[in-house]
Symmetry: C2
Subunit: 185 residues, 2 copies
């Protein structure tokens, strides 16, 4: 038996995206978002309330970074998602986070988060969503595998559960994609 819930913003797994931007004063800011995903092979889509300082910053600087919140920095990611830069301008420092300017776009890379998409603004859609082009992905060597590529098992990205306001960590590797379909029958 299935139970009907009507229309809900439920999606599994949802990401925990830490959006890094610069304010008008050049100060780095960050917020978290869970509504978004890949929009094209080289583009990301974000649904952000326009009341956020982050939205103004993206428009002004035409750039942002997207860090994937990881298990090692769950509390920091949660904090920057909870507190507004409108009320706490130094929220990054208060969370113990540090930034460096991206070499590719006019936005801060938060050095504690091991993996970041460095994006330039493509447009705001007619629905108000932010579309960014992924110009570069930078990854801390600590979460690379022996082959030099990112290793999800080392990154340990977290996921937001909108049903319960809870976080889950990505679990174990359960196999390669593109199995031989013949095994099914």
């Amino acid at each position: 038996m299935r139970k009907d819930f009507g229309s809900k913003p439920w999606f599994y797994p949802m990401p925990v995206l830490v959006i890094g931007t610069y304010g008008d004063d050049g100060r780095a800011d960050a917020m978290t978002a869970a509504w978004g995903g890949l929009y094209e092979a080289d583009m990301v889509e974000l649904c952000l309330s326009h009341s956020h300082k982050t939205f103004d910053n993206i428009i002004a600087h035409k750039a942002f970074t997207v860090s994937f919140a990881d298990m090692a920095h769950l509390r920091e990611a949660d904090y920057v998602g909870l507190v507004s830069a409108h009320s706490e301008p130094d929220k990054l420092a208060r969370a113990g986070l540090h930034t460096e300017k991206s070499a590719f776009v006019d936005a801060p890379v938060i050095t504690e988060f091991p993996m970041a998409l460095e994006c330039e603004l493509v447009k705001v859609t007619e629905d108000g969503n932010v579309i960014g082009r992924i110009v570069n992905i930078s990854v801390d060597e600590a979460v690379l595998a022996g082959d030099g590529k990112p290793d999800a098992a080392k990154l340990k990205p977290i996921s937001y559960d909108g049903v319960r306001n809870e976080y889950f960590v990505l679990g174990e590797n359960v196999g390669s994609a593109f199995h031989d379909g013949a095994v099914l029958k």
Copy 2:
């Protein structure tokens, strides 16, 4: 030290979305997609190649379902993602999957997957992305918690790792969102 990878379609965690549609002959079809996410509180965005039969079906029926691939049906999800309905019209049956017509939209609910968004087509964006309105979410009672809401720990959604073409299962609950930021300092 961070390593630069340029532009890549890498995102953590990415979903494994099984898109259910009806073909012109009324036959149920399904494919998997990983590029997409929430677009609004009641809308989902999908980046699908227009060469897929699924795209034609969505346009014709103005509806689709999105099931979250779960650990118990990893191989079935992988199979429908691998095989094209153009070459295997009975791919759902071949994967051992069954469908019922959604009570809300003109699209099939795949009964084996415990959770599905039942969506009506809102539009195809100028970039070719599919935007759907979530009209209903139906969830199998087997993956509900005691409070009657979905339980991610029972659902065990899987995630697609585009870096390595591998799947990961969602892991453990690591805490409630909205911690008291005061603990940080």
